[in-house]
Amino acid sequence: MTTTYEPNKVLSNKEFKVVGTRPVRPDGADKVTGRAQYGADLQLTGLLYGKTLRSPHAHANIKSIDFKKALALEGVKAVVSAKDFPETKDTANYGLGDSPMNYFRGNILADKKVLYKGQAIAAVAASSVHVAEAALSLIDVKYEVLDAVLTAPEGMAKDAPILHDDLFTKEFEKQTKVNSNIAEHFQHKMGDIDEGFAGADVIVERTFDTATVHQGYIEPHNVTALWNDDDRIHVWTSTQGAFTVRAAVSEALAVPVSKIKVTPMEIGGGFGGKINVYEDPAAALLSKKAGHKPVKMVMTRAEVFEGTGPTPGSHMTVKMGATNEGKIVAAQANLAMEAGAYPGSPVGAGAMCVFTAYDIANVTIDGYDVVVNKPKTAAYRAPGAPNAAFAAEQVIDEIAEKLNIDPLELRLQNAAKEGTRRADGPIHPRIGCVEVLEAMKEHHHYQSPLTPAKNGGKVGRGVGIGFWFNIGMQSACNISVNNDGTVNLVEGSTDIGGSRASIAMHAAEVLGISYEDVKPQVADTDSVGYTAITGGSRTTFATGWAAYEAANDVKAQLIDRAATIWGVDPDSVEMEEGVLRSKTDTELNMSFKDLSAQLNDTGGPIVGRGAVDPSGIGGSFCGQIVDVEVDPETGKTDILRFTVVQDAGKAIHPSYVEGQMQGGSVQGIGWALNEEYYYSEDGRMNNPTFLDYRMPTSLDLPMIDTVIVEVANPGHPYGVRGVGEANIVSPQAAVANAIKSAVGARMEKMPMNPAAIMEQLWS
């Protein structure tokens, strides 16, 4: 019997009516007709245009700023700098942890010092964008240029130039007295590492370096802000978290959140990069100073590269030991990540994920958060984890090679499962690591011979597996019932990849109606309860859960109402698949649609609410199989075949889950092979254009085949695990392992561009 190969498979265990289907997204028509309103599309009466003056130096003291000439230019309405921030408290918290106010504000408008090229110093509002640009060149800034430090090892060196004279290393929240570029050091320790290595037959230790890379969203950052005459501020912006922007603007400008309304416009990609807030507070200040006129600011691509947060470059040593039987007995990692100009690299997440796929008795992980003269890093899809996996997954590959065990078998043999203790302490709940590895092993791709070379190069295959813990956090949702048996759903998660659909599907499932009968809408911060960022793979999980709660609130009221109409006890009424019926009297039943038509006359409209901050978050595993062809003459690598397998818990909308898997995979491929911030010695990025910062095009890629594994998350009503991030964790390592298999070179540097491969081949 032959079966046809399915490039996109879903391994489902449980079927639902709506959950698991693939309806068309509700914002679809607007997005294919050009009608959707993205941030930069907003045009307001009396609009002014703002532009930001950015530092030309990677590290310098600001001696003075003179605006006289700029203000004299016709059409210039206002200028702002850090001097315009009002007095406020010492610590900022906009929903994502605490940070010192001077660091938070410094990254919005630098005060006494600039810490990276591209750092914002001042902003101008003018009658046109061209006038604003001309005005920037008339601002006279005097700098005292300082030596720059660009990588974590350089930053950690004893004699390194110090970025912040008020930064003292913290060790698990203990404030030390050491003024250095190391913002934080932490350690996870389990078992006895020395004993572990003593019991190992094979030990591999390697050191890896990865470059700074950017999320590369196609839509540049943009904001329009109006500081109204009644001192209420309205911000329209492209963001992953409208409430985060509200809180950040509130903290930066010392204005209460209730005076701020943030309208999230359609968002053209984020991947973590549109959580942090950049020009929004300056735009609001400009609006105020320009006489309460709306001010719009849209970044250029170079500003996006140089002025917003990429994900860090890193320096990592990983050492692992295993017995001859293939049991990994000890693992040690030393991870140093570049925070950029201010503390806050994702090294904590990297540390948490580095060995999480495995059951290892003796582990020590040290993490260092190091400030350097680069843009303050931001989140990028599973932040920190891809760096760590690039190291760990290559070391495991090498152990498999040394032990001559199939790399998937070695991983399976050591795979973490329910009950395995993680190095940072907690025990894994039900997870799908084994299931993902098994699906990889059994996949047509893994069972097939190596894809033949296209251009006569050398071919190889690699695998990798990655973990991401996912997050929960706060979400709110309202549902109101229309009289025709449809419902309107209001939620607060900006929709980057189809989450309106996946959230609406939760509600449809509860109410037993079709997806088309739920009309979802992403609301501004005045119109829905607090909802945290669209990030951390939380949206379908947590906002979906809020929709589930709101729908159940509606359902309970529907049951009450039906009982009122029938004159029976509500406990005797049930609702299933959109039909209300008496449990005892078969005569008594009516559809949701029929009841909806009667609501206004039987007690009034019904609205439901759901607000959650769930625990029960399910981590997700994701593995890749990749075949590459490497040209040994040039070092150029082509991807011949690529398969990604991920545990989605339950894929609410499989097409959008596949979309996440494919998008994450290709970002991983770009990161692996081409992308990097290419720095000059004095800290200038030499390639801030899409011409020189090479992201993958359709020409560079094969189809990305997918398998969705479903190991239900017991913590979620439909078993959902977040799916947005785990897929970017290990493609880089899988590609590295494939290159090794093709040409024999172990890649210790990323990107693995032709030059890096040639260098490794020659060394």
Binding site: N93, D98, K174, K189, G348, A379, P426
Partner: protein
């Protein structure tokens, strides 16, 4: 008694103890109890009435969304972890 895991860089406060059995029905009570025996723990973990912004607590493997209000069972495991975010 709950099993409380002490982060390695905080073990200086617990005389090198890596794991302690502590009585308490919530994390808040556990920290209070810990503070009795090992002064300094509370300041390290908490900022006023709540956990420091950069610290999470996990009870039985679940990071608590309600911080120190999380309920702790007789045989629960309690871990203090660095807070993490995603993209």
């Amino acid at each position: 008694m709950a099993k409380v895991f002490i982060p390695s860089l905080m073990q200086e406060l617990t005389d090198g103890q890596t794991q302690l059995d502590i009585q308490g029905s919530t994390v808040r009570e556990i920290i209070k109890e810990l503070e009795q025996s090992y002064p300094g723990v509370k300041d390290r973990l908490m900022d006023g009435f709540k956990l420091k912004g950069n610290i999470n607590v996990a009870v039985d493997g679940e990071v608590s969304p309600i911080g120190v209000l999380a309920k702790v069972q007789e045989n629960s495991e309690v871990h203090f972890l660095p807070a993490l975010g995603g993209g």
